[in-house]
Amino acid sequence: MDEPALELTGVSKSFLVPHARRSRLKEYFAHPLDSRGHDRNDALRDISLTVPRGEFLSVIGRNGSGKSTLLKVMAGIYRPDAGTVRVNGVLSPFIELGVGFNMELSARDNIQINGTLVGLTRREIADRLDEILEFAELERFVDQHLKNFSSGMLLRLGYAIAVQVPFDTLLVDEVLSVGDVDFQEKCFATFEQMRAAGKTIVFVSHGLDAVRSFSDRVILVEQGVLTATGPPDEIIDLYLAHVQTRESAEPAVYEGRASL
């Protein structure tokens, strides 16, 4: 019964840097054997991690450190190049806010589409529609096209759908970035509820205060490597120390890219 919610063993993931990618047949014919100019971005390197059931795990790190890629590999969106991801139970992803909605369709249609994709039946969506709209505070806008929504409204809609799935594990990426204070309070309340219900949460955020107050454990990801695991205070202090020394020493923008 004590299967962990998530288990990653030696997971690596790399991308070809887009501008160097060949997208035309002609380029293949012209230089079929030439592999120069292909930059590889090692987004995740040999990550091993076990997330026990019921844990609130936060992932922190600089922009581009691999946090979001880690979440997408957990969600089954990206297939890892190496290693194994083992998932026990139903996952609900809240990743890349607002992206993936169809802006030409109404909130109602988008709830239908997203609800279906995360596994709900038509009936289940109909039953939850009011709750989703109420949580997102969008009752009045249910039949408006999303192109007229603000980024905060899109965020609320996406999060409201994600938490309505009967999940065991919730993956949350930057839910606090564009919401207002009221919505943040609401999110915090759902965190408490989910924790009380024994749900597992993997939380990616730059909001260190929230990370500090909710997490059971924090992991630090730097240049695709899991560099530290431990209690929130300890890891956040370590992270802040790293950021300060890094900033005074060197620009870190192009780190993490290796040429093949």
Binding site: I77, R79, G83, P93, G100, L105, D109, I113, T116
Partner: protein, 274 residues
């Protein structure tokens, strides 16, 4: 890129997985149909207007200017145009479909095969509506509905298999090679002019007739004409394809097989590059 990690998740029973996929196909197809006609006053009529215009031009050029000597030429032509339009529309719409839904693929893990399935399904719906319109036109031109029209059902199933296969091939390739769009643009014109849509195949040299008879489109168009005009002895002589149907039918299923294989091979990287 041969090395690959694994993602292990406990799946539900097969029936549940299938139901999940069907729900996605249905919601995608419905919203696509809705989006296609959203904001346009005439809605579905536009889908009817396009093949009608095609038909009118081809009728004027080949029926009157060239005086193609085919009995029931308007009926002959309308069958070809409606079937060709289904193939051309389905492939052109499905071709960019995975790229268009790339943002959704990056957010939620779901089977990407549902995307081309939904697009071809919504095009098939338009095709069926066009068939009703064509049926009315055929009836109005004095051809009475007959039992042999029922033979159109397995024929259309075969045609959908072919259309889906070609759509899968192009939509899978397009994610990595945007050239696929240009290739299809040229290919669709070649197909229009080589498939006996607006002229009888018998005007082609013998060897060319044998080659085009391998095409599932040619076979389906010719057979559909034979079933619809079957009662007319003048029409019967040229419509049906004499060759055994094994080859075009095999090619239709081979196209589907190749499309499914390509999709399976390419799909793990769709979220990254679509």
């Amino acid at each position: 890129m041969s090395r690959s990690g694994t993602y292990v998740v406990r799946r539900g029973p097969l029936a549940e997985q299938l139901a999940y996929r069907l729900r996605i196909v249905s919601v995608f197809a419905r919203t696509e149909f809705k989006l296609k006609y959203a904001g346009s006053a005439l809605g579905y009529l536009w889908s009817l207007a396009k093949p009608s215009l095609y038909f009118a031009i081809l009728w004027i050029v080949f029926g009157h200017l060239f005086r193609t000597n085919v009995p029931h030429f308007p009926v002959y032509l309308v069958v070809g145009v409606v079937l060709y339009t289904f193939l051309a529309d389905a492939v052109s719409l499905t071709l960019p479909s995975i790229v268009v839904r790339g943002a959704v693929l990056r957010r939620i893990a779901f089977p990407s095969l549902t995307i081309p399935l939904a697009t071809t399904a919504s095009t098939a719906l338009t095709f069926l509506l066009n068939c009703i319109a064509a049926g009315i036109f055929i009836g109005a031109s004095g051809i009475a509905p007959r039992g042999s029209w029922l033979m159109l059902v397995p024929l259309f199933v075969e045609f959908y298999v072919f259309v889906l296969g070609i759509s899968l091939i192009f939509s899978s390739l397009y994610v990595r090679f945007r050239d696929a769009g240009q290739v299809w643009e040229v290919l669709s014109t070649v197909i229009l002019y080589t498939s006996g849509i607006m002229y009888p195949l018998r005007i082609l040299p013998d060897w060319a007739q044998k080659v085009v008879a391998l095409s599932p489109l040619v076979q389906v168009v010719q057979d559909a004409r034979a079933h619809i005009l079957g009662g007319d002895p003048r029409a019967a002589s040229y419509t049906a394809i004499a060759e055994p149907h094994v080859f075009p039918i095999l090619i239709a299923f081979a196209a589907l097989g190749l499309g499914l294989m390509l999709h399976r091979h390419e799909s793990p990287r769709f979220p990254e590059i679509a």
